[in-house]
């Protein structure tokens, strides 16, 4: 009589896992060198301090730049920075000296002077 961990005398024959639950398609993870990791939800993310972040959103954006204030979730802090006063001025961007709210970001983000447009948007 064959013996294995899965086959216990008196019990039913082992069934493959695929027969016990619906076969799931692979979870898609989308990578982008300049943005967050996109993972199909729901997810649990175990952080290095042992805390667990849970989201049941259809897709989550996981921060890879480490600048997010809502880590592990992306909050778009990876974006390049521009100085509003020089946004339309010619010439290269200069080192900013007047940051009030984004002190941590400016240490890491490349500051450029590319033009920007919309100032204000409603959430959608």
């Amino acid at each position: 009589m064959p013996s294995s961990a899965e086959s216990v005398p008196g019990s039913a024959e082992p069934v493959p896992a695929s027969a016990e639950r619906p076969r799931e398609r692979p979870r898609r993870v989308t990578v982008d060198r300049e943005g967050p990791l996109l993972v199909e939800g729901p997810v649990e993310v175990v952080c290095d301090d042992g805390s667990v972040a849970v989201s049941d959103r259809f897709t989550v954006a996981i921060c890879t730049c480490r600048r997010s204030r809502t880590y592990p979730w992306c909050d778009t802090s990876h974006r390049r920075r521009t100085r509003p006063d020089t946004a339309n001025a010619p010439g290269p961007g200069t080192e900013d000296t007047e940051d009030t709210e984004d002190t941590e970001d400016k240490k890491n983000a490349g500051v450029t002077s590319t033009p920007r447009q919309t100032k204000e948007e409603p959430p959608s």
Binding site: T30, D32, G35, P36, L38, C47, S51, V52, A53, V54, S55, D56, R57, F58, T59, V60, A61, R69, T70, W73, C74, D75, T76, R79, R80, R81, T82, R83, P84, A87, D96, E98, D99, T100, E101, D102, K106, V111, T112, T114, P115, R116, Q117, T118, K119, E120, E121, P122, P123, S124
Partner: protein, 352 residues
Amino acid sequence: MTTVRAEPSPHRGPGAASDVPESRRRSPELPAPRGELSGAVIDSLRHGGGPLPQSAPEHADAYGDDLQLALYVLYELHYQGFAGVDEDREWDPELLVLRRSLEQRFLMALRADATGPESAEEAIAGLLTEPVGYDGTSVSHHLQRDGELWQVREYAALRSLYHLKEADPHAWVIPRLHGRAKAAMVAVEFDEFGAGRPEDIHARLFADLMADLGLDTSYGHHLDAAPAEALVVVNLMSLFGLHRALRGALVGHFAAVEITSSPGSRRLAAALRRVGAGPAAQRFYDEHVEADAVHEQVVRRDVVGGLLAAEPALDADIAFGVHATGFVEDRLAAHILDAWRAGRSALTAPAA
């Protein structure tokens, strides 16, 4: 959507719905007219018919109170209607003839004024940077640093014109998309509409925010107090949403909103905390920081990318949608900040 860090879900479970009444249970009253065009439309709706101009007069300002309110009221027939107005008026040919004329004036003005790079990629690239430090032209920067409670309340009242029907005008584009663009658009809209949970519908979260700020949450309540610049912002979405020919512009508009929303929402959440607003008020913007960081990626990659792959000829229209959104939002921001810096209300009537 539920997002927690090793703690119980902060969102209300079934049976624990907020006490804020559903804002769209009733249709609003017709607003007060602001000129001959809006007066004719409102009179016709109130009295079940009557003489209507067939087109906008030459002197009508495309962005002015009168034309924009007339257009707003005509568009509202497609959303929630008005108390005492026959629902069939939505497809009244005479109203549609006038609407067409007003739309053409509005669209011509936008095409002339909202210009920029004519490729979607370049238009969107212009949005993917954030200012370092304080941006004196941004309402969210102002509110975060210097905003007072009355200003936060005014801002919420102004934005309620859209947020109480948040994501509705964008749903009209769904039957005009297919494949990758459609699947992605529907996924984002599903999130906007609470992912199957009525208490999480973003319009609902906004009603909760308004209640936290002591504002009337009934749909359409703040229309009479809204300046033309605020009507323009909402009419833009309705214009793009209702016309299949403008599906590219609608997608460009949606991309612009989703891309710029996340950082703005972070500042507004901070502003609400600073002025001592309640947890529901903060939750609306906290949710948008995270949700729109995801939506931005999905919209850029699959909605815009999918539409461009399917219909490359829409490239310039998508770009136009991005530019038009920036143009109307900048006008609204300038109106609000000019008023506040002069110590005036940005509304035409007190927020209540």
